[in-house]
Each structure stands twice: as C-alpha cells, then as structure tokens.
C-alpha cells in the first residue's frame, strides 16, 4: 500500500462522512458534471449571447449567470482543496499519464474523446460518478444503480481496446 494515500476503506469512510455532512447542510451531495455544463454555457454566453436562447443551456443562463450555483462553488472548492494538498505534500507534478512509450498524441486524443462522450453521458444520466453514482446510491436511488452497473459493464467490455494505453500504469 502506497503511503501517499489513505487505506482505501478508511478513505471511503472519511469520504462517506463528508458526503453525509454535505447532505445534512445542503440537502444534496457531491456534484461535478453539472458545474462543467454550467461553465460551458457561461463561456459560450461570453462568446455569443445567442446561446441563452438554447433550450438546454438557456435554463442555466436564466438567472443571469450560470456560475452562481451550489455545485459550481463546490467544484471550485474541490480544485482549491486538491491544489492545497498537492502543494503542501510536494505532489504537484506536470505529467501526461500513460503507458511507457505510448504515443502522447493518441493519449491526448483519447482523453479528449473520452471527455466528449462523458459529457453527453452525464446529460442523459443527470449526473456522473459523483452526483449520480455516489450521491444517488447513498440516498437509495434505484436509477443510480442502473447508471453504475451500465457504466462499469460497458467499461469492462471495451477495456481491451485501450489496454496498450494503460499497460504498466497502476
């Protein structure tokens, strides 16, 4: 076990207690994809205000600024917290994680394309691993299990296609 990390079960209990405190305070748990969707809408609005007429992005912009939102503030906090601990422990390091000798350009392409797919996935599923899987499953939503099992199942099925990218990376 790597000493940089907590024991996974201890980490899980800490994460679970933190999530519970968040539920107690805000009535909702962790979120991430919604914040990125809102940031996209706001950036698009700065470039061209026409986006406010869009049937989907428009509802984020209805209040004037898509970024005045609980999940967006929380995500800013996640970034700050992670940056703080990385700097504190000297773990901040620029790197493109991939298998040794795996072409950087292919890694960049798959990272981008994977993100693209995940964006669409989160709009269909109303959330990601945070807001849908973790929050939903903890609060007894049946839909979260549909999402989680489909995600893990599909990931396992296509994993062989990306094996070279991750060989030796663990």
């Amino acid at each position: 076990m790597n000493k940089n990390y907590w024991n996974p079960y201890v980490a899980g209990v800490i994460l679970g207690v933190m999530l519970f405190i968040t539920f107690l305070i805000a009535g909702q748990g962790l979120g991430a994809s919604g914040a990125v969707a809102r940031a996209t809408a706001q950036v698009a609005y700065q470039v061209d205000p026409e986006i406010a007429k869009n049937a989907y992005a428009g509802k984020y912009l209805a209040s004037g600024n898509a970024l005045i939102n609980w999940t967006v503030f929380e995500v800013v906090g996640i970034f700050l917290g992670a940056l703080f601990i990385a700097l504190l422990s000297g773990k901040f390091k620029l790197e493109l994680t991939r298998s040794k000798n795996y072409p950087a350009i292919k890694r960049v392409l798959f990272a981008f394309l994977g993100g693209f797919l995940i964006a669409i996935a989160t709009r269909f599923a109303r959330g990601c691993t945070s807001g849908q899987a973790l929050d939903g499953a903890s609060a007894f939503s049946a839909g979260s299990w549909i999402f989680m099992l489909a995600a893990f199942g599909a990931g396992f099925l296509v994993a062989f296609l990306f094996k070279k990218q991750w060989k030796g990376v663990e």
Partner: protein
C-alpha cells in the same frame, strides 16, 4: 430547538451561506480525493482491468458509510428524507448514459469530479479530458432539440430502491438492506477479480 436536517432545504440557511459552505465542503472533498488516490488516471483506468481496485474500494465504502448514516438519521427522526435530493430516474437515458460513461471512462481514465482534482495536481490528461467534456457539453446543447424526447423518456420520478421492489417509496429498511448487500456484492466481485488477475500475472 429541534434541528431537522438538511439545513438548507428545510430553510435554516439562506442561499449565500449555502454557497459559502459549498466552497468549504468542496475543499474537504478535494483533499479527500487526492488522499484517496482519485487524482490520477493511473488509479481509475486499472479498475476496468481489475489490476488496482483501490478507487472502487473507496467508492463502495463511502456509499455504505453515507447510506448507513442517512438510514440512522431518518430512523431517529433527525433527517427529513423527502428533503434529500435524489435525481429523478429516467430508465433508458440512464442506461445509455451509463454505457457511454463507462466507455469514456476507460478511454480517458477520468470522470468529471476526479479530473478537477487531477488538474489541480498537474495532470495534463485531466485538463485535456475537461476540455473534451466542455466540447461535449456544447455539442449536447446543439443537439438537444433532436435528443430531448429520448433524454426525457422513461421518467419514474423519485424512484427509490424500495419503490423499485414494490414497497413504499420511503421504506428505508428495504432500501438500506438492498444497498448494503449490493454494495458488498460489488466489492466482493472487485476483490475476487483483482485476486484472479494478480495470480495470473501480467502477460
């Protein structure tokens, strides 16, 4: 005075206090993410090969912990379960969304929340991933008119595990026991597969 949680949705806090707390809570999550090993694709992608299931162990124990605390909180009357936000279940969109999500995850090695902590710790692939997510979001805004019928199909509303099994929606005993068993089942499956893969060695 009796406190009935959650504070915000039961009207104890106003919105600006809630937003301020969101940053503080987020900072806590960011620290936990890094210490749990969520801030590198080198821990996320190997789950799909059962080579390193650490993040799955964290995830499952977090679900069990939070579910237990919510269950006890409601049981003893401190939490109003109806005020806990659960996204509505849309069966087919969730299923298709899940499939796309899993493919994207093994392809990129990230999901949105972990990538935020990845960027903060210097991972270039996390930054590229998030640019891909933003591009995908923009694409979704564009195609929404064409996919909205599918995206909003199969809406079952607030659909708890108990309800799915034919019990009362807020029967937490049923929901909790099933969550507990399913979570441990998932964890056991991960650990067994991890053991098998490790014994086989790397080809």
């Amino acid at each position: 005075m009796d406190f009935i949680f959650p504070f915000f949705t039961t009207g104890m806090f106003d919105n600006s206090v809630n937003l301020f707390l969101a940053i503080l809570l987020g900072i806590g999550f960011g620290i936990i993410f890094v210490k749990s090993g969520f801030s590198t694709s080198a821990h996320i992608a190997p789950v799909f090969y059962f080579k390193n299931v650490m993040v799955a162990q964290v995830m499952v124990s977090a679900i069990i912990t939070t579910a237990t605390l919510i269950f006890l909180g409601v049981l003893f009357g401190y939490i109003d379960y109806s005020k806990i936000y659960i996204p509505a279940t849309y069966i087919w969109p969730y299923f298709v969304g899940g499939l796309l999500f899993g493919i994207g995850m093994v392809m990129s090695g990230w999901c949105p929340g972990t990538a935020i902590s990845g960027v903060a710790t210097g991972k270039i692939d996390a930054l590229i991933f998030l640019l891909g997510v933003m591009a995908g979001m923009y694409f979704y805004f564009d195609i929404y008119e064409y996919v909205k019928d599918f995206a909003n199909s199969g809406n079952l509303g607030r659909y708890t595990i108990a309800k799915a099994l034919g019990f009362e929606e807020d029967n937490l005993q049923v929901s909790y026991v099933v969550t507990f068993i399913a979570s441990f089942g998932l964890l056991a499956f991960m650990l067994i597969m991890n053991k098998i893969v490790k014994n086989k060695g790397d080809e």
